[in-house]
Amino acid sequence: MIMEATIVSYCKIKNNTVWVNGEKINIDNNSVDFSAFLVNLYRQMNLNYPKFFKMDNLCKLGILAAEMVIQNNSKSENFEKDKVAIFLANNSSSIETDRNHIKTIVNKNDYFPSPAVFVYTLPNIIIGEIAIKHKFTGENAFFVSETFDANFMHTYASIALQSRHTTDAVCGWINVDGNEYEAFMYYIEKKNLNKAGNGLNTHHTAEMIYKLYN
């Protein structure tokens, strides 16, 4: 049996619109600001995960996108969660929360830095949040680049998937800067392509990642 790296699901969230495996999802009320949109989407997904409200918008967006790719795929039921890697990238790191932390220290008469804000001033916290929610304890890496580099992400994930320590990977691009935001996430599994099953099943190649992203 030949095991091949296969993209089993993907998700895009942009301009208050959500696509899962290429299909547009109906959102109850999407003519709202970004923060409200995230809460609406959370409620529509019935996640029942109160920690969601403690997160910054980057992590909220990441948790929702990850949920979409994990819920909507045809991957095998039996997998080891310590072999699921998470590799993400963006342009703006945690700049939105960085600005919020600076607001708490800029005025010496109102100087109250908040630990709950500061902890989100690292982009890889989003990897931590996804790892915690899904108990994924495999490889991690967060990269920062000007735009989404599908070639690089494909290379890095492929190297990891060649190792026996990694069977699955959640990868993507997740950026928040002011009111501008974008999430693109996909789930890769080493599987036998002939046993395709339902849903998306496509080879993990850089060209395919670009195609799904655009």
């Binding site: 809460v39 403690k54 109250f112 908040s114 630990p115 709950a116």
Partner: protein, 84 residues
């Protein structure tokens, strides 16, 4: 006192982003951590900021925090005892 309890409920919900919780859901005598509201270590640090920001009280020794934040009632007691 009951006013202070109500104020604290609102401040905790706001500061700790407990969006799904209503003030009446919080029992003043129930533990804030562990089985109670399920708060964590970041929330504990955030409560220290809350006391300073909204009540002007600085906890000098962080080790005291555990007893002070045992419940809403103990927080209120501490605020009254330490008000300037």
């Amino acid at each position: 006192m009951s006013n202070l309890i109500e104020t604290l409920k609102a401040q905790i919900i706001e500061q700790l982003n407990l969006a799904e919780l209503k003030p009446e859901d919080i029992d003043p005598n129930a533990p804030l951590f562990g089985d109670g509201l399920g708060l964590d270590s970041i929330d504990a640090l955030e409560l220290i900021v809350l006391l300073e920001k909204h009540h002007g009280i600085k906890i000098q020794d962080p080790k005291d925090a555990k007893a002070i934040f045992a419940s809403l009632q103990s927080m209120a007691d501490y605020i009254i005892a330490n008000k300037k």
